[in-house]
Symmetry: C2
Subunit: 547 residues, 2 copies
């Protein structure tokens, strides 16, 4: 039996476009000789639809769209993800899959395990299925699972989060094959983890597995695709492309040369780069923008962001703006200009002195002779935001903000200043990884100027300022942040690993105190296991200090 | 038996201060002759603690604090809310209550029904109890419930959200009394709903009920207190104060004159006003600020915000700043000045022309002869934000933002302009309610200038601009928004109620399109059943249009 893995890139809520994409893939799969085509989790409406699911009219429209798609399933069956109303006690919906066959919705199946952690809120919307789902299809018993359903296998380091184990239940129910429809977001290193987990489960239960994942960016999340198929010995026999749509035909019985293609997925730094390019492109296009603007400081963060934007949208659709102040060094503007030339993006220079001086004079009667402090630094960042937002408003460019995760963690950024923008492209990229991605971009030729990469980082908001004046070296900072933010380790645990007591204490205090800034941050593309944003929900007015 | 209802105002995560408050109330309750003192849900750590719960060290510290509190329970027992580790399959915590007696933690009980909707995320953290909790205490059987546990009774208009019905289960288990520990946030009209629901359940199950609610503001949520007690005939026999801490002694057997006080809670507009005052005060103080700054436009939104701030913090701790532009009418500054005088708050005037003109000149080479549009309007709002944030940074005032819910809904506000600030005091208050609260504030004397209340609303960002140029009348707008945002009605359903087709369509489009602005909005105090913010989670890059 040939099964088509339809790795689609839906736009959230766009029932019309998503239906058209699904119908096209059904036709292509049928032409390729597949008997069954499988789509990702909630493929009709896109994942995650969030509170769109609370609109009764939206649920009705998704049922109508599903029935329309069924009309296109005559010589092929399809499994499509959708939101199914649930009547009776409990939440009003199921996270569901429909089997479409002979122009009809012949059966529906529900997700059992509903992730409700990190960026996932499924218990907010869905009632879980009480038992596993088995499809009888062309003489085979197929176990149907949705994403989390196959992630609850006991692992040595983790206790089970759920009481049910659908994969094991399906093995007991003597199915011939397990299909998993997913919307599993990219995190650095996660695809290898998936491959290992899936292969181990196939071996354990002696069952083949077909895994179909969503691809594309939806707000903070980037889905990497990487759909794949395993034999019952855990052998990987097919793998779709990463970071783009794909239609992969799999035959687990009699593979012929046209089936079971195995693509080679990107790893490590290259995979993060690809995720950021896709996430940026999809956010801009799905929000119906064509072009972006960003400030170019001459530093590495804005250079990396510009390079990602140029790759995602084409250089014509990127405008970089250098906005030197009285404290900017000449090399900053030179580096910004060189970057724009290398990338072939549009470029302006607008010195901020006139507005900077005007604001200082306006405030002078009130500030009088008070010494300069962070106020004057922030003023410059905010004048720059005024200029960038004016260009955004006048020409319809989406403003990109360029701060990295290390800065955002410790609050080394200005609200309504450099934090202004519609998308924070690298806000989940620690500074040390910013360097690695920049070097990856320069792997063939110098795109980001070497001087941008090699000079010591500085915000240039007062004379001779350097990041290292007020922060520990970035390799130390990033290690502490990884332990504190991603791993939720305590101060004592981090110090016990050999970090300086005062440094750890100061960094943790900075992270905790700057929650109010992150509350108002632009959505940022998630690439680590724990990003600031939707998946990390901290109170602002709180006062926890370890005893 | 005398039971003390300890209506406390915890700070999230402040185990030291919260413990001290609990111990003080235990001592006061013992002195008043109570045998048992009951605290609100999660009273030791404050509600909602959000992702603080994911820190293992925080959970350990909360256990240590609980054991310390137990040392103070010798001649009285206490029931305290805390987060209890859960071992075995499932989530790592229970939302729990501890019975403290004879200097020990003698028993722990778990919440059964975990709200996971609107602002509530309890399935993210907690494993539900599988059965009801009964305390044997001084010869009585007390059924212990936590908040949501008693909200699942079948009602004519609503299907049950949960499979268990703890109140009915406790009746079957033949308890003598039900205690409910709550953290139930204020929503306009909700307390009357609670009283009706609780009374009806007492009558149905012939059981008395004691309800102890948290009070105080925590980020977006304001808890109103209003703890109360009912007989088994549903008769309200005691009610604590609203919007402040209280210790209420209840004797359901032999009420004496020192027990069973019944306070008279505020209603309607007065209750919203009190909620905003408390929410503002607690946010400012729990964030360790002493004073606030805000822009005074001469309009009603900033006037109302200033009046609430003056009442919450004292007028000395409020700075109002008028920042007229070339388009401001003379009466705007006069009204702002009059308001500041009436409120006795601090006041500055800083015309924005110098920075406004400087920015225009800086942008002129790029804008050239393009016609003025929203760009130039936003520029003024952002210059004002620069000034206000500079005052905030220099003097340590928290900046309050003053936009109302109607504006925020349709995007009639400027990012990094009038949306700038640490707290959005009235962002859940529709414009029509802004007028009602303003008139309530003026009930005894003119505090908000009459001219501010009577003049037609205008942003004054271009010559002779009025809100009514681009928006329907506010009473129409607010009705449409209520149906769309709070009730999730569809366009067709709203039109069917007699609203103009084009108007409804335009308003809905504006609400949907401006999600990106609200993503970066300051936290706002929730007073309606559905506020923008944490409890409304909409995708930004989405494209749902009803078919």
């Amino acid at each position: 039996m040939k099964i088509a893995l339809a790795q689609t890139n839906p736009t959230i809520g766009d029932l019309k476009a998503n239906s058209a994409g699904i119908i096209l893939r059904i036709q292509q799969a049928a032409q390729a000789g597949a008997q069954l085509v499988v789509f990702p989790e909630l493929s009709l409406i896109g994942y995650p639809p969030k509170d769109l699911l609370l609109k009764p009219r939206f649920i009705n429209d998704n049922i109508t769209a599903l029935e329309n798609i069924a009309q296109h399933c005559q010589n092929i069956a399809a499994v499509v993800g959708f939101a199914c109303p649930h009547t009776g006690t409990g939440r009003t919906l199921h996270n569901a899959a429909a089997l479409l066959q002979n122009k009809q919705v012949v059966a529906t199946y529900y997700k059992q395990l509903l992730p409700t952690y990190d960026v996932f809120d499924e218990s907010r919307y869905f009632e879980p299925a009480q038992s596993q789902s088995v499809i009888e299809f062309q003489g085979r018993r197929i176990g149907l699972t949705i994403c989390e359903d196959i992630w609850n296998e006991p692992r040595p380091t983790q206790r089970p989060l759920y009481h049910a184990q659908p994969f094991a239940q399906l093995a007991q129910a003597r199915v011939d094959l397990v299909i998993n429809m997913s919307a599993s977001p990219f995190v650095i290193g996660k695809h290898q983890f998936r491959l290992d987990l899936f292969a181990q489960q196939c071996r354990k239960h002696q069952l083949p597995l077909i895994y179909v994942n969503q691809v594309g960016g939806n707000d903070e999340l980037v889905f990497d695709g990487n759909s794949c198929a395993f034999t019952n010995t855990g052998h990987l026999v097919a793998q779709a492309k990463d970071f783009q749509e794909d239609l992969l035909i799999v035959d687990l019985d009699n593979p012929d040369p046209h089936c079971n293609r195995v693509e080679n997925p990107l790893q490590d730094v290259a995979s993060v780069h690809a995720a950021l390019v896709l996430g940026l492109r999809d956010y801009v296009q799905k929000c119906k923008f064509k072009s972006v603007v960003l400030g170019l400081s001459g530093g590495i963060d804005s250079a990396l962001t510009a390079a990602i934007a140029a790759e995602a949208l084409g250089p014509k659709n990127v405008l970089g703006v250098a906005m030197p102040s009285r404290y900017s060094s000449p090399h900053s503007v030179a580096d910004a200009r060189q970057l724009a030339q290398n990338l072939k993006i549009n470029y302006h220079e607008i010195p901020i002195e006139p507005a900077h001086a005007a604001l200082e004079q306006m405030l002078d009667p009130i500030f009088q002779n008070l010494p300069p402090d962070i106020t004057e630094e922030n003023l410059q960042a905010r004048v720059r935001a005024n200029i960038l937002m004016a260009l955004s408003n006048k020409f319809g460019h989406l403003l990109l903000t360029t701060g990295n995760k290390s800065e955002l963690a410790v609050g080394y950024c200005t609200m309504y200043g450099d934090m202004a923008g519609g998308l924070a492209v690298i806000s989940d990229v620690p500074k040390t990884l910013v360097y690695k991605i920049s070097k990856y971009i320069n792997r063939n030729s110098e795109i980001i100027p070497d001087s941008t990469i090699t000079k010591p980082p500085s915000a240039e908001l007062r004379p001779d300022q350097l990041d290292s004046d007020s922060l520990p070296p970035y390799d130390t900072l990033d290690q502490i942040l990884q332990l504190y933010v991603e791993q939720e380790q305590s101060q004592d645990e981090i110090i016990a690993q050999g970090f300086d007591h005062q440094t750890v204490k100061r960094i943790i205090t900075l992270v905790d105190r700057n929650e109010y800034k992150r509350k108002q941050a632009a959505p940022g593309l998630k690439v680590t296991s724990r990003a600031f944003g939707f998946g990390r929900r901290m109170p602002i007015a709180q006062n926890y200090h370890p005893t």
